[in-house]
């Protein structure tokens, strides 16, 4: 049993994924220790260690684009700041449309992205064929492409932030589950864990797929739903595919990692809840194989090496939940990223840290605040939940 170093912390972060670690790192940099990060599993056990490494700035709403653009800048400078390589390869995200209707939808996104000052392009079949070697003729009527989007290798980001946070005195307790949140005088006063209870005025819920459980254990009703998404990797190949390719019709996404593997998944009926664990299904393997073989027929001769799955933490409107919960002062959300937490972590964690430090946020509360779910009418949504 892991023993905790103290009985009292300034902040307890639940979840040692990329968001929790980044938040702890930023708080420690601001001198706001002592900080404890607890995680029920091992380092990288959750979605931070299970994602495809995509980082994109093409979104439907300006608010998400701004967060994403800031994250891209942070990941570009990651090696200098943290001393490890992410091999962040900015060779673009290519969204593919198979019909004019899909293309019209991508154009709308393209216009928002361009308005935000990013050089997104609408591309035709000729350009697509150059970007994706061996793509099936007629596989797309067109698409959009943003060259500064890219893919990175997720694990080193975890190691880099973990080591930096620990060097600043952050305590990371692995294999320790947060069991509940204690309150006194209407605000957070402590956190119960399997390694004992600790006193703290602030708790950050960065528990990914388990964030709904953590909020509910604190007595807060939240609409977060964990959905299980599957993913696979092929045998590694020499450099073959540069951009991340995303198909609008079925949500197929695939990119080639620095390790040479093609990694990707697609949208299908995703089971909800964390209780059944993270198995792989024959249905996914077959659908994904068909999707890859229709996109780039020569890939049919390539082997699938392994498949796995992990949890998206979905919200009804597609925006993450960032900031202090007005119902329980001291309880800060850093969740609901719907499978895009890794790519938004560097920028989102700044806002979470600001929330803990009591600083003013530049985020639109109508989009990101946990209070938005108690509004009588639904607000705006971020629907480009592909890839």
């Amino acid at each position: 049993m892991t023993a905790l170093a103290r009985r009292e912390y300034r902040t307890v972060v639940v979840g040692a994924g990329i968001l929790g670690l980044f938040t702890a790192y930023r708080l420690a940099r601001a001198g706001a220790g002592p900080i404890l990060v607890v995680d029920r599993g091992f380092l990288s056990a959750g979605a931070s260690g299970r994602n495809g490494g995509g980082v994109r700035q093409q979104w439907e709403t300006a608010a998400t684009i701004r967060l994403a653009r800031e994250s891209v800048a942070a990941y570009r400078g990651f090696g200098r700041e943290f001393g490890v390589n992410l091999w962040f390869r900015q060779s673009g995200y290519l969204f593919l449309a198979e019909s004019e209707a899909e293309l019209a939808r991508l154009r709308t996104v393209h216009e928002v992205v361009v308005r935000e000052g990013l050089p997104s392009e609408v591309v035709g079949p000729g350009r697509i064929a150059k970007l994706v070697d061996g793509i099936a003729p007629g596989a797309a009527v067109g698409g959009t492409y943003l060259a500064s989007d890219g893919v990175l290798y997720p694990f080193p980001a975890i190691w880099g932030v973990y080591e930096a946070a620990r060097a600043l005195g952050v305590e990371v307790a692995l294999g320790v589950t947060a069991t509940g949140v204690e309150r006194r005088d209407g605000r957070v006063s402590g956190v119960g864990t399997t390694a004992g209870a600790v006193a703290t005025p602030h708790v950050v819920n960065a528990a990914g797929g388990w964030s709904g459980d953590v909020s509910r254990a604190a007595g807060l009703a939240v609409p977060n739903v964990a959905t299980r998404h599957e993913i696979l990797a092929t045998e590694p190949l020499k450099p073959f595919l540069d951009p991340m390719v995303v198909r609008v019709s079925d949500g197929l996404y695939v990119s080639q990692t620095m390790r040479g593997e093609l990694v990707g998944g697609l949208t299908m009926p995703h089971p909800t809840g964390t209780a059944a664990g993270v198995p792989t299904s024959v249905a996914f393997l077959a659908r994904m194989a068909r999707a890859l073989a229709t996109l780039v027929p020569r890939l049919a001769a390539l082997g699938v090496l392994r498949a796995w799955s992990g949890f998206y933490d979905d919200t009804p409107d597609g925006f993450p939940v960032i900031g202090e919960d007005p119902r329980l002062p001291g309880f800060h959300h850093a969740n609901g990223f719907g499978g895009h937490g890794f790519m938004l972590a560097p920028s989102a964690s700044r806002r979470v840290a600001a929330s803990v430090l009591g600083e003013r946020s530049d985020l639109d509360p109508a989009l990101f605040s946990p209070a938005r779910f108690s509004r009588p009418t639904p607000g705006p949504a971020e629907r480009l939940q592909l890839g």
């Binding site: 090696g79 450099p239 990692t257 393997l285 073989a293 027929p297 001769a301 390539l302 090496l305 392994r306």
Partner: protein, 549 residues
């Protein structure tokens, strides 16, 4: 019937001939073990190691398809096979200079960061260090077409060894619809049961009353989807690897490979072989290789039967010895040994080192299906937890034979007992004797002693990904604990063999480094498929209807 005639194919531009039914590797390994590959990072010369379709030592590009395992592929007339990942040739690969240029390894995690303007150039270089082959040719999938198969049975038996065959016979005799899947390229019939030569790549536990779903693939790529009420898994065992300096040098082979390549009807590609191991498996190798064995080396004592087999043949014995390093340029020329307890060091000339010291269970299917696994200290491996009838913790899934830890002599009996239990007529009395659970594995002490000494040469902890022992030690130094994290940190066990050959010893090494017992170091989630499956096969696989939740 006309006499089957030899098959003519080309390998790296030369004409080659295979006997009917012979594998590509068999045809290329007539006189000596062929160099077919270069390692992924350091471009060290590589030859086949495992002989059973898992390691990267025999990957060839065949008819435009990369990563074909020569040890599992039976060639056809006109096939074109090429070595990849080498330039200008696999024998003289200029990138082999990387091995000497980076004596401390290539650190892609923390190196290559300065100057920042070179980032893109570094990226291009490092990206090229990944992957064994180029993308498939446009028409490479044509040979992979074939029907998709679907079966619904009462009892699915996986593995055609003694325990699996006994289980299938027993189930068929009881009138159950029985299917036996075996990975061998040809399968012997079992009365009353259907037998298909196919590799089972996934067994997924029942979400409902529908039962198990298993996915298998026949050579080269016909998918077979099976739904079964019960599964009796008898996947058997394989020969493990060993860590020492130059452990990846061509000529170091597993006992599986040595036995495969010295089948009675063919000349063996070994002249001077050292056999490492002090048990029944070592004896099997000695008897098969016979005159080619020049020494028997064992980590501990050598039992009387093996002593007798050696003295009959005049083979010298080296009990209680460490293998420190191998020497040779492209191939093994000699093996450096040291007597345990700080004894003398000496070298023996050899062209082959056969590792026959450790049989490991094929546990992947059990892990995948969600069965609880237990560490057995004697054999030093994880086995499925079973009751006296072989039932695992997943209802309806039985483990039998050596992969369940049952002693080899009682294999067939374990298969029959499992079927009796699933038929509702369990055999009374206690279960069959299992391999001992208690006590440390003998390699723990072996490695403790070995790693105290100097470590000359490359110690390749994970040959598939060229991960060095030093990188595992580095992960430990930086505070990473447990196999799951060290695997992700260092890349050990993430290659094509999915950790079969590196993780068992990594567990022992981490146990030593962390000062914990091997089960505390943990294990890694086994991810389907059990072996790589062509996308063409998965794309055609029948999907059983989703069970209602």
């Amino acid at each position: 019937m006309p006499e089957p005639r030899p098959v003519r194919f080309r390998y790296d531009g030369r004409e080659a001939i295979a006997r009917p039914g012979e594998t590509l590797l068999g045809a290329l390994a007539r006189r000596e073990l062929p160099l077919l590959q270069r390692s992924i990072r350091y471009h060290r010369p590589r030859a086949p190691f495992c002989g059973i379709g898992h390691c990267t030592g025999c990957l060839l590009r065949v008819n435009g398809r990369p990563n074909v395992r020569a040890c599992r592929y039976v060639p056809h007339d006109g096939d074109v096979a090429l070595s990849e990942n080498a330039w200008p040739s696999v024998r003289f690969d200029l990138q082999g200079a990387f091995d000497g240029l980076f004596p401390r390894g290539i650190d892609t995690l923390r190196g290559f960061r300065r100057p920042a303007v070179a980032t893109r150039l570094y990226q291009r270089v490092v990206r090229r260090l990944a992957g064994y082959g180029r993308a498939p040719d446009p028409d490479a999938a044509r040979s992979l077409e074939g029907p998709a198969l679907r079966r619904e049975v009462d009892v699915l038996v996986i593995g055609g060894g003694a325990s699996g065959r006994a289980a299938a016979e027993h189930a068929a005799r009881a009138g159950r619809r029985t299917l036996l899947l075996d990975r061998a390229l040809t399968a012997e019939p079992v009365p009353g049961a259907e037998v298909v030569a196919a590799t089972t790549v996934a067994v997924l536990p029942p979400p409902s009353a529908v039962g198990f779903t298993a996915l298998a693939v026949t050579e080269p790529a016909a998918p077979l989807t099976v739904t079964a009420r019960s599964v009796v898994a008898a996947p058997g065992t394989y020969d493990g690897a060993l860590l020492f300096g130059g452990n990846d040098r061509p000529g170091v082979v597993s006992a599986d490979a040595a036995l495969q390549l010295s089948a009675p009807d063919r000349p063996a590609p070994f002249r001077r072989a050292i056999v490492f191991g002090g048990g029944a498996r070592a004896q099997e190798v000695v008897e098969r290789l016979d005159g080619a064995v020049v020494a028997i080396v064992a980590p501990g004592a050598i039992p009387p039967e093996l002593v007798a087999a050696a003295s009959e043949r005049g083979i010298p014995l080296y009990p209680r010895s460490l293998i420190r390093t191998t020497n040779g340029r492209r191939r093994l020329r000699s093996v450096e040994l040291a007597a345990r307890g700080g004894g003398r060091r000496f070298a023996l000339a050899a062209d082959t080192l056969v590792l026959a010291h450790r049989r490991l269970p094929h546990g992947q299917l059990f892990f995948q299906a969600g069965a609880r696994m237990v560490w057995r200290g004697g054999p030093g491996a994880y086995f499925p937890e079973i009751d006296p009838h072989g039932a695992t913790t997943v209802p309806g899934l039985y483990a039998v034979g050596p992969a369940a830890g049952v002693v080899r002599e009682r294999s067939a009996e374990s298969g029959r007992r499992a079927v009796a239990a699933l038929l509702g007529a369990p055999t009374p009395g206690p279960g069959l004797p299992l391999e001992p659970a208690e006590g440390p594995h003998e390699l723990e002490g072996y490695y403790r002693e070995l790693l105290r000494g100097p470590r000359p040469g490359r110690w390749v902890a994970c040959p598939c990904e060229d991960v060095l022992l030093e990188e595992i030690a580095d992960a430990h130094r930086r505070g990473y604990r447990g196999l799951e994290v060290v695997k992700r940190y260092s890349g050990v066990g993430t290659g094509l063999c999915q950790g079969r050959y590196c993780l068992p010893d990594t567990i022992l090494l981490l146990a030593l480094l962390e000062g914990r017992s091997p089960p505390e170091v943990g294990y890694v989630t086994q991810r389907p498929p059990v072996v790589p499956v062509p996308i063409a096969a998965l794309a055609r696989a029948a999907v059983p209807p989703e069970a209602p939740p």
